[in-house]
Symmetry: C2
Subunit: 530 residues, 2 copies
């Protein structure tokens, strides 16, 4: 069987360890020059990465290249896009699946990387296009004859965070009058809060679960169907199934339409499948869905470039590994200077931590050293007035990734004290990047900034459907590359199983109303349940 | 001058270091017994802390007590509530202020801890009560004669995150028809997104800035005032000033009313001052504001208990220090099993990291060792389908604090497969707590759970205005106690200054449209600005 090499087994890894002991001093103005900042720029689809404020130099980048070559990182990515069974653990029972979230956006080429799966994706997109036309022209209406203006998206985890963050990012491009709401949590207050105030007669409900058996989603679907019935409506005329073909949810008696997801697309990588596109098509219209997919596939293609200095996703991945594994920063803060991206970091948190929060290598052996970091963050400038204090003067070292755009989405801006709000936003982004590395001395120790807190800035022109697709695919590819580096299977999630089993036991105890003479019984009693 | 002792200078600290080498094995069912879980429960106002799943035992708790006594943690808290000037660095210029966020809720006692400041708080509350009556009975209306149904809260950082998270937490208790929106980011798309679709003729605008000079807030205020004018309305009849007395914003020509905040209340601790109560009073009505304050002051009083086993905020604080400083977990995840608390962790992230992300002791000397952790988190059960993979099987050790409630807010729930959604929610919370510590062996290495990932569960009955006040004050006190432990000034934020200065330089360069032969010039050029 194919065995891949973790980066720590590569020759250049020990070279990088040596480099980590002798980093360029970015507080030195002879080091952090204009030339340096202008030099360390990597251009990819829709974005440029400014990484002169990272602790790198040409030697370190050369070692990045050696590692990429020896671990065959790009080759693995190419194989992934072409249908290799990468979701597996050698020698043990595992999911044994292909990893083809890239296939459902590879729809613009006459020679897609994975033709069969792309064809399946195109079938669903055609179904979606026709469905949206019927909604638009009013041939499809709710059971009381009203046209649809609202969609409630019911899912959780991978069926929620990606679509939700993309919807928030692209609200500015909505079809007039259309809104989308999301219900995810099994907490009944989540559904209650969303449902109050909705005109259900004009509401579509997209229920999203690949297996058709997700506990939270089915519970929330039941709450929503009851609300539809209470409003005198026929749930089957309002509900869409976004699910696996032949799942328990794939049933025309209960759903207006079924849109299919396939087991070669993992939940957290499913935003460009029907998991995201049904909701997005309703909100923005079909042509903007295509723009979104276009941005994503452009980034996938860019990830197949062999030169690390020219491969934006690979470079972002290697800089992350450098900061986490070599420079030992346990967390990475992703800080978008765009309010529309206010949920994007939450999506990345899932996509990254569920993919690379692992302890076993792909060959079944225990991991040597670390796998993925904790990912967190909030938009700037808000964060500047919040947790940036710790970034600048705290004792925890954080890897920082800024994201910014030159133009606003709405274009509703004003010159106030000689500059626009957008100019203030970008100025603040760049100022933070520079402040973190340059530092500042002061007679007052409380006003000192140590500096050398490395970071990078990802700049785009404007957050549009196409650049959002590119941004999503950039981070997906980053996460995949990092999994290759640490030699973990980024595509399973065995770590969520134990909690599910124990929750089931607790629920059984609740149903039987018995307090067992056991840990669980006592725990429940203590929690005031029994 | 008064010199306080950091815990690492305490005799018991070395004992704790020894204990950290020999932790109880919580995967051992002879250790993690029903009796243990039932024993390690601390009851405070509105909440119980279940901490049997922490790596503690009686010896460790005894050392907690010794440390609390030797560092005089409770004595410092008592002095804080009574007006000690704790916001300072000895021997260097610093803010030299009292820390009296507790005073504005200490309104129910005939003998408040800090009478002068409580009296000032009561004056503002009386003004608020009368104002709300005028809104309610329609004597106060917008400039076109409409009654007010909507409030836009414009602030950032401490003037935004606390109020926003509390509003989200208590939406279920709103006066019918009333809604609140928030604008914070200098990103012009934030204001544009909020303003579109609002009926401005029915909208109050609360502009919140203590200094009256916050860049983001004034920019957004200008955008909102322009929108009011464009709608043919008089901004002065719609805007409220929440600001310091005599600040540039304290001007009746431009604002309908002024509500005052005082310099003895820091922004991130200001949610129970007019910063939070003006918004909350509009949304929920005055009596629920009083309930909210009541919950907070009950927790403040509980924080003055000398026995660490009975002092909920102090115990939570010491468990946090134990996990961070002794057991070396760089981050803490706060995971509320309540969708209504979906922004609470973001507030804590600010309050905690801005307070304790420091490198200098209160005596001006460099900090030995670490100060505060990175704080992050998302609500469960959503997080279970996202980043919990890393909590269970990743290589990063995370301190975990669960929060849960026995009852839902809306009470709109259904029995589905024999249990309600609320039961499913609580069962999942407890299952996760137990799964993290108990672990599980398996023949398949990918299905193994190491266990011993310690955590605690904070249980309340229901999230109400009173319990929300208690929860807020609990975490405020935790943060304050931890600052005392690390001997940092938790009440200043010098670390945010350098970025502000550099942003100003960048903006000047933009205005002058010159590209300097300098780092800033090159940076701007590279970012596509120049």
């Amino acid at each position: 069987m194919q065995q891949w090499k973790a980066i720590r087994e590569c020759r250049a890894y020990t070279e990088l360890q040596r480099c980590a002991e002798n980093l360029p001093d970015l507080t030195d103005t002879a080091v952090l020059t204009s030339e340096r900042i202008a030099h360390y720029v990597c251009t990819g689809p829709e974005f440029q990465l400014l990484y002169g404020c990272q602790h790198i130099n040409e030697e370190i980048l050369d070692h990045f290249q050696e590692i990429a070559d020896e671990s065959r990182l790009v080759e693995q990515f190419r194989q992934m896009r072409r249908g290799a069974v990468l979701n597996k653990i050698e020698g043990y029972p595992s999911e044994e699946r292909q990893v083809l979230h890239t296939s459902c956006r590879d729809i613009f080429s006459t020679q897609p990387a994975s033709p069969t799966q792309t064809e399946q994706g195109k079938v669903e997109l055609q179904k979606l296009k026709e469905f949206l036309q019927e909604v638009e022209n009013g041939t499809l209406r709710g059971s009381s004859g009203e046209t649809f203006t609202t969609l409630v998206h019911v899912g959780i985890g991978g069926s929620d965070l990606g679509p939700r963050s993309i919807y928030e990012a692209l609200r500015a491009y909505r079809i007039g009058g259309r809104t989308v709401h999301f219900i995810a949590n099994v907490d009944p207050d989540d559904a209650a809060d969303v449902l109050q105030g909705l005109d259900l007669s004009r509401t579509l409900v997209a229920v999203v679960s690949k297996s058709g058996t997700t506990l939270e989603t089915l519970s929330n679907e039941t709450l929503v169907r009851q609300a539809l019935k209470d409003a005198g409506l026929d749930p089957a005329a309002h509900c869409l199934a976004v699910t696996g073909e032949s799942s328990p949810m794939d049933n025309p008696e209960h759903y207006l339409r079924s849109f299919y997801m396939y087991d070669y697309i993992g939940g957290r990588f499913s935003s460009t499948s029907v998991v995201g596109t049904v909701m997005l098509g309703f909100a923005l219209g079909y042509s903007r869905v295509e723009s979104f997919l276009k941005g994503a596939v452009r980034m996938d293609e860019a990830a197949e470039e062999g030169d690390v200095r020219k491969n934006l996703p690979l470079l972002l991945a290697l800089l992350g590994v450098w900061n986490h594994t070599l420079l030992q920063k346990p967390t990475v803060a992703v800080l978008p200077y765009s309010q529309a991206l206010h949920r994007f970091t939450a999506h990345l948190q899932q996509c990254d931590m569920e993919s690379n929060g692992k302890s076993v290598q792909r060959n079944g052996e225990p991991l040597q050293g670390q796998s993925g970091p904790v990912v967190w963050g909030e938009p700037g400038t808000n964060g500047q007035h919040a947790f940036y204090q710790l970034l600048h003067q705290g004792t925890e070292e954080v890897a920082v990734e800024f994201i910014g755009f030159r133009r606003s989405q709405y274009g509703r801006d004003m010159v106030i004290r000689e500059t626009t709000s957008q100019q203030k936003l970008v100025a603040n982004l760049l100022a933070q990047s520079l402040a973190l590395v340059s530092g500042k001395d002061d007679e007052n120790p409380n006003k000192r900034f140590a500096g050398n807190r490395s970071n990078s800035v990802l700049m785009g022109d404007c957050l549009t459907p196409e650049s959002m697709g590119a941004l999503l695919a950039l981070y997906e590819a980053k996460i995949v590359f990092q999994g290759f580096c640490w030699n973990v299977n980024s595509f399973d999630q065995e770590g969520v199983q134990l909690g599910k089993v124990l929750a089931g036991q607790f629920l059984s105890a609740m149903v039987e109303k018995k307090v067992e003479n056991s840990v669980t019984g006592a725990f429940l009693q203590s929690a005031g349940i029994a």
